[in-house]
Symmetry: C2
Subunit: 353 residues, 2 copies
């Protein structure tokens, strides 16, 4: 059985066997019932995912997956495509947004070359799972073959598992790829059934004319390729990207290994949608970090049924939102594991009526 | 001149003299223009407050101000009032929500006894600024005298300044006081001009009957005392609380000393409203941490003109929301100070058209 199928089969349904005990613990902590709102919900989710009554999120890893996109030749991005490898080197040097925020929350950043259009210099924090030197231009035909789509998914699974054996309590997703809001909008449109213009935003900041062109290119890509909405791998192959497939694989692997996975913004959202369509059980393992400015993101999250933790007008990607989300998740778990109970602290409980 | 007046006079208007240089720095960092949204706004605000081009938020202090409320004899809270001192001891032992979250974000917690209804045991992290042994029952007359109101404000100012001399880069507000959503709603109603029922919530969780009673008590307190909406000290004296005055004083002192101050939830919001009415310039020094579940909180924030950073359904108080907000503020500053520029990282800029 190939790695992809084996991983999907290992994903278990959350059984909520610890739900009652966790609720009891939360209700006995020295605070009014339910007064820590979403932190309490998050703590419960992480207990169920990890099957640990007192989980700890010490080892945090953010995977920033990089790939190039043939569709950039249509002028869909405000930045030239050489920025993809340049930013990978920036990640290696520790100077990018994700490096700053990952350090802030105590997370490691692993950069995965899923399909950058050039060979990258070796580096300790760079994992090579290159499926190709950028996708083909989806406006003219399929972005990749079905076999390449499966390889992208498996590259993400492998990248996860190679880190998982070293120890990992929580994973975050991230992306880097000039042009990658274009395939993400295409995936969102096909898999949610919404119009292209409803799920297309301005990416890194194209102007009105370029935006209209971007919508037209996405429509054309869908018309030319006719992706089958019932077959997520067909959608990934025809209008996807290597790093998007890699992130979807990462989410499948995290779910299979019962590791909570914090989903970054729009590109990660498109990947999460693919993972969800491949195996709906993955939803319970996902934590949506934030609501991106990209308009399609809200539609994706609603379609999966995820509620973002943060809404800070971010649209950088890289895993920057995931980093902040990981910190909230860790705060939630610490509430559960470190707060005193009414009994321990000698605090009176509410007046029974 | 008394400390209160001297502090108010020292509060300077933000002059935005560093705005252009900060914007230029942000725009040269390796990310699409404006793509870190509210983190960029926050970084700019902190530069203007501190007048430092490259601020650092290493020394973080959360002040949790405690006080008791005579109005609890009207049955407005789900918890007995002995919980106030019990929770202070819980803070000292490090077992409360605020302790867990402050540790998570690397902040110290200073607990200030502004007016707990008993004498508390000495402790290193406990500052005594006791104005009285709980307020009087505002449903029957003024909560405190005008002189006590000024003493509460000055207690908060002193608590801030005693820590400030030791070094402080950012302050957070917090509260503890059984019954204190009741005076907070009264303050919010008087100072925003909104109806009592629009700004009253369920506090720590009273039932329908007790909620109706709470609204009636607040209305009665306002009728009996006739606080003058144009005189914030009169409002604090007649329907306020010692810890609410202390938090308002803390906000005045932080503003006077150009220290960003992260405002917690509803009770801190009522205090922020008092500080804002006493001196509107304080607004620029405030960072609203989160949107509380307490319905009056949104009205307070809109009235001042603050947009909360987080919306996590919290309603615990103590400074728990402020702790999470402080971490976001620190992340924002690190973006400004630690990210590489396009030039430094050798990354191509956007295509000029």
């Amino acid at each position: 059985m190939r790695k992809f199928d084996e991983t999907i089969q290992r994903i278990q349904k959350i059984d909520f066997s610890l739900a009652k005990a966790t609720q009891r613990r939360l209700d006995n902590l020295t605070k009014p019932l339910g007064s820590l709102g979403r932190l309490e919900e998050l703590a419960k989710q992480i207990v169920e995912i990890t099957k640990k009554e007192r989980p700890s999120l010490k080892k945090k890893v953010i995977f920033t997956m990089a790939g190039d996109h043939g569709v950039t030749e249509e002028g869909v991005s405000a930045y030239p495509k050489e920025v993809t490898p340049q930013m990978v080197y920036n990640f290696m040097a520790g100077g990018a947004g994700i490096n700053v925020l990952a350090r802030h929350v105590g997370a490691r950043v692993i950069v995965v070359d899923m399909g950058v259009a050039c060979d990258l210099k070796e580096h300790n924090d760079l994992v090579i799972k290159k499926v190709g030197y950028g996708t083909r231009n989806m406006a003219k035909g399929s972005s990749m073959t079905k076999e390449e789509a499966l390889k992208a998914l498996e590259g993400g699974i492998e990248a996860f598992e190679e880190e998982f054996v070293k120890g990992m309590d929580i994973a975050g997703t991230g992306d880097m790829g000039i042009g990658n809001t274009t395939p993400s909008s295409a995936i969102a449109s096909v898999l949610t059934g919404r119009k292209v213009e409803d799920v297309t935003g301005r990416g890194t900041g194209v102007d009105d004319k370029a935006f209209a062109g971007k919508v037209a290119i996405i429509r054309k890509a869908i018309e030319v390729n006719k992706p089958d909405a019932k077959d997520p791998i067909d959608v990934l192959a025809k209008v996807g990207g290597f790093e998007i497939g890699g992130i979807a694989g990462l989410i499948l692997a995290a779910s299979a290994n019962r590791v909570p996975v914090v989903i970054d913004g729009f590109i990660s959202g498109a990947a999460a949608l693919l993972a969800y369509k491949l195996e709906p059980k993955t939803k319970e393992y996902m934590i949506a970090a934030h609501q991106s400015v990209e308009r399609g993101h809200r539609i994706i999250l609603e379609h999966i049924g995820l509620k973002p933790l943060l809404d800070l007008d971010l649209r950088l990607g890289e895993g920057t939102g995931a980093a902040l989300g990981i910190s909230i998740a860790e705060a939630a778990v610490k509430i559960l594991t470190q707060m005193a109970s009414f009994k321990d602290a000698g605090v009176s409980e509410r007046v029974k009526k």
